[in-house]
């Protein structure tokens, strides 16, 4: 009889038998280790939660009064027969990969990650392991991200142009992570920055933790475009084109996502501008991250899983697809982040 694997894939989520805990489970469990606060990874209903101190405020903000303990990045904790530790995933502020060691064998569940340093999230750090669990949201060689400074220049250029034409710029971005990253890329001297309530809620939490964001003006029912000429508005994608957006008069709409790389998606989205920027790793990022772990075995959880696993096998890794209920950066439904 073979040894029990360090982590196994169950209908409730990724499970560690040695420590009797789950990582980002999607059904209620006794003990859940959470990589980050996005809805498909951090769900309500677990008895106990464990996450990094920098992820904790967002988890409380979103899930309410939960039984939450924290473990600092790099701190090793013993749970049953397993040693666990959290390591930066670079996806959003506070996001982590989770390292699990049982009897000398090391597995890493990476949640969602990006290798590009966004200057706001704790930068991705590769963790040597035997088995690596990866996402593959953008696991095709047509996805390559430009340096963040280039995208910042495009967005600020668009904002200036909107200002010159007397339009309000409305930029759609997910309210946890992407929105704050974009805020950090804006040049505040161009004009006032307005935020939708969902974005501002997360801003407040992150500012209280010590993350530096530019000054923002929350949009209220009384907000009028005339009072904020040349403004940039950051809002969830679903707010673009809604009754909420009508208060801004003549607008130019933008959408910031890795999917904006594809012209077909850009046209379907029908925003005036599409900015290619993602909190997930691009093709080269995924491959360099996997190589840096030294892992010989890789499980692919979400995204272009079959294709990506086939490529990993092609380059000599033992790769397999495991079905999960993670979504990554969702293309057609905007409810998820």
């Amino acid at each position: 009889m073979g040894r029990q694997p360090v982590l196994s894939f169950t209908p409730r989520g990724i499970y560690c038998a040695a420590g009797d805990f789950y990582i980002d489970p999607w059904r209620p469990v006794d003990r859940a280790l959470i990589t980050h606060g996005h809805a498909d990874h951090a769900r309500a209903g677990h008895q106990r939660y464990l996450a990094t101190p920098s992820a904790a405020p967002v988890l409380r903000h979103r899930l309410g009064d939960i039984a939450l303990e924290t473990a600092a990045f790099g701190q090793t904790i013993r749970i049953g027969d397993a040693q666990i530790s959290f390591h930066p995933a670079g996806h959003v502020p506070g996001s982590a990969q989770i390292r699990v060691e049982v009897a000398g064998e090391v597995w890493v569940a990476s949640g969602d990650y990006k290798t590009q340093d966004d200057g706001l999230s704790e930068a991705f750090a590769p963790v040597p392991c035997h088995t690596f669990i990866t996402e593959s949201t953008f696991g095709l060689p047509v996805f390559r991200w430009a340096p963040q400074a280039d995208v910042a220049a495009q967005i600020n250029g668009w904002w200036r142009q909107c200002r010159a034409e007397g339009k309000t710029a409305i930029l759609g971005a997910y309210s946890l992570g992407k929105a704050q990253r974009l805020l950090s890329m804006l040049e505040p001297d161009i004009g006032p920055i307005l935020t939708h309530g969902a974005v501002e809620g997360t801003n407040r939490v992150l500012r209280a933790q010590g993350f530096t964001l530019p000054d923002t003006v929350p949009v209220t029912p009384d907000t009028r475009a005339a009072d904020h000429p040349g403004a940039m508005v950051i809002a969830p994608p679903s707010a673009l084109g809604s009754a909420w957006a009508r208060r801004f008069g003549t607008v130019s709409t933008g959408f910031a996502s890795g999917w904006m790389q594809l012209r077909g998606v850009r046209r379907r989205r029908a925003a005036d501008r599409g900015f290619v920027i993602s909190d997930h790793a691009d093709w080269d990022g995924l491959l360099s991250a996997i190589a840096a772990t030294g892992a010989e075995r890789v499980f692919v959880t979400h995204g272009y899983t079959e294709i990506f696993a086939r490529w990993l096998a092609h380059i000599g890794l033992d790769a397999a697809v495991v079905p999960t209920e993670f979504h990554g950066e969702n293309l057609d439904s905007e409810a998820l982040e």
Binding site: P141, L262, G264, R267, R268, D272, R273, Y304, H314, D332
Partner: protein
């Protein structure tokens, strides 16, 4: 290419027509002449001869990017456009280039006759000198179908803006046989003698579908009616001792329909007829499938010519004795057409179809109900005093088609769409029941809303049983009402039938699988309507 790439970026960044027209008008004012000419050519469907086939392009792009071909082929349906897939998958260019659009067109044309190894080197060298947008456009020049959100109509409007000339005049000037090799900016756009090209047709006038009851059109006396034939819209141009047959898509089809040559024996020079090409059994049109055999053939074997002889059912006269009649009222054009065709013998390939009496609307509605028996697909309504306009315009001409036939079918295969529909499952195969089996009988791509396509896409992802490349076999579960215009026996299809214009009329969420129609139902429709 940088200027053309900048034009593309401006057009591509906006969904607003005014922004696109402004961008193109600026380009037509500022760009070098050859680039202007090629831009007009590309946006009116005139592309350089294909220098490389797409199979080679995929292989070279995959090789250059260090991907196995299977990986390239997996990425292609996600991107949904070959030119774009190549542009994205290639490593960044090491050089750059300030050459113009027409330079690159010339580059491609010069390589067309070179050995393959040389063409490969040329293409790889070009890719290494162009940035991502320029590469995409370069690839589009090769793969053709320059569809990037600019219609010929929009381009013509921009040209009108840039030159100060009326749009209908320019639309007419851009018709016909010219290429940037045979025409100059002056000869195409500015020269007084716009009729220099004897083959040049007129821009077609297109009708809208009548959705409201015909009573909304006012008194019936103001209208003329005729059958709406299911053939190929065409203009027959007789000038300079020659004849030319043009399709609505501005394709010259003269050689495909050699029987029309003898029109020159009956009709005078300086005549342009507008009508419908149909396969003809001597008394009435044959089914569209008979005509279809003729469409793809550039030369026609004698046997086929005998089986499916083609006639032009002429319903409008655009030019008479060399004079443009388009501004004259329809009733007057039609009378003159009748005079012109009166002496033409019965077996001639140009015929005058009868008009339908319009005594009152209910009477005409009753006639329309019999359209299938007359082998027509409905009724055309034309205002008696209407001029012959260009393009699709509301008000004077209406097509009043029969309600389509419908059948409830089960979705069994799904495939992702292209372009704007990339990454969405939009192309489906449908089956009817046959005992415990499901027999596929048609594909359909259109008819659902964007929200419905998104919903079915999520469902397909979760209910895939098997994948064959881009095609997914899904759990037979969803029933759709398929609407179509006609049904024909077909040996080429497993089900034994071929449908005309199938589309999804409704998603029948209320219907379980067992209530979908059967192969027997389909065969019964074939007996009645085939």
């Amino acid at each position: 290419m940088k200027r053309f790439a900048a034009l593309f970026a401006r057009i591509d960044q906006s969904t607003r027509t005014t922004v696109k027209v402004d961008a193109l008008a600026d380009f037509f004012r500022e760009a070098p002449e050859q680039d202007r000419m090629w831009t007009i050519a590309l946006f009116s469907g005139r592309r350089p001869k294909r220098a490389v086939n797409t199979t080679r392009l995929r292989e070279w792009a995959a090789e250059r990017s260090g991907c196995p071909l299977w990986l390239f082929e997996e990425a292609y349906p996600v991107v949904g456009d070959l030119a774009e897939t190549i542009a994205l998958i290639l490593p960044p260019a090491r050089n750059q280039s300030d050459e113009t659009l027409s330079y690159w067109v010339g580059y491609l044309r010069a390589m067309a006759d070179r050995p393959e190894a040389e063409r490969k080197q040329q293409v790889l060298a070009a890719w290494d000198r162009l940035d991502a947008t320029e590469r995409f456009l370069f690839n589009k020049l090769i793969t053709g179908g320059f569809r990037i959100g600019v219609s010929q109509k929009l381009m013509t409007r921009a040209l009108a803006r840039a030159t100060g000339r009326p749009e209908p005049e320019l639309a007419h000037r851009l018709m016909g046989n010219w290429t940037p090799d045979t025409a100059t900016w002056h000869s195409l756009i500015e020269a007084e003698d716009a009729g220099a090209d004897a083959s040049r047709p007129y821009p077609f006038y297109l009708a809208y579908q009548l959705e409201a009851p015909p009573e909304t059109l006012g008194p019936p006396e103001a209208w003329r009616a005729e059958w709406k034939w299911d053939g190929i819209r065409a203009q027959l141009v007789l000038r300079a001792g020659e004849h030319f047959v043009w399709s609505r898509g501005e394709e010259l089809m003269t050689d495909r329909f050699p029987e029309l040559a003898c029109a020159r024996d009956f009709l005078p020079e300086g005549t342009v007829l507008d009508g419908e090409l149909v396969a003809w059994d001597g008394a009435a049109p044959l089914s569209f499938s008979a005509l279809q055999k003729r469409i793809g053939r550039k030369t026609v074997p004698r046997k086929l010519l005998a089986e499916a002889p083609v006639v032009l059912l002429a319903y409008d006269l655009l030019e008479d004795a060399g004079a443009d009649l388009r501004a004259r009222p329809f009733a007057e054009r039609r009378s003159r057409l009748a005079e012109l065709l009166a002496p033409v013998p019965d077996d001639a390939p140009v015929r005058l179809p009868a008009q339908l009496a319009v005594r009152d609307w209910s009477d005409l509605a009753a006639r329309r109900a019999d359209a299938r028996a007359a082998r027509a697909e409905g009724v055309m309504l034309k205002r008696a005093d209407s001029p012959y306009l260009s393009g699709r315009k509301k008000g004077d001409w209406w097509k009043w088609k029969l309600d389509p036939l419908t059948i409830d079918a089960v979705m069994i295969y799904a495939q992702a769409g292209h372009g704007r529909r990339a990454n969405l499952f939009t192309d489906f195969t449908f089956a009817v029941r046959d005992g415990a089996d499901l027999v596929p009988f048609t594909k359909a791509y259109s008819g659902l809303t964007d929200a419905e396509f998104r919903e079915i896409t999520a469902w397909v992802r979760q209910n895939t049983i098997e994948r064959f490349g881009p095609v997914r076999r899904v759990t037979p579960h969803h029933v759709f009402e398929i609407a179509f215009e006609g049904i024909q026996a077909s040996a080429r299809h497993k089900s034994g039938v071929a449908l005309r214009f199938p589309r999804m009329a409704r998603w029948r969420r209320d219907k379980p699988l067992r209530e979908a129609n059967t192969l027997d139902d389909l065969n019964a429709m074939l007996r009645i309507h085939g």
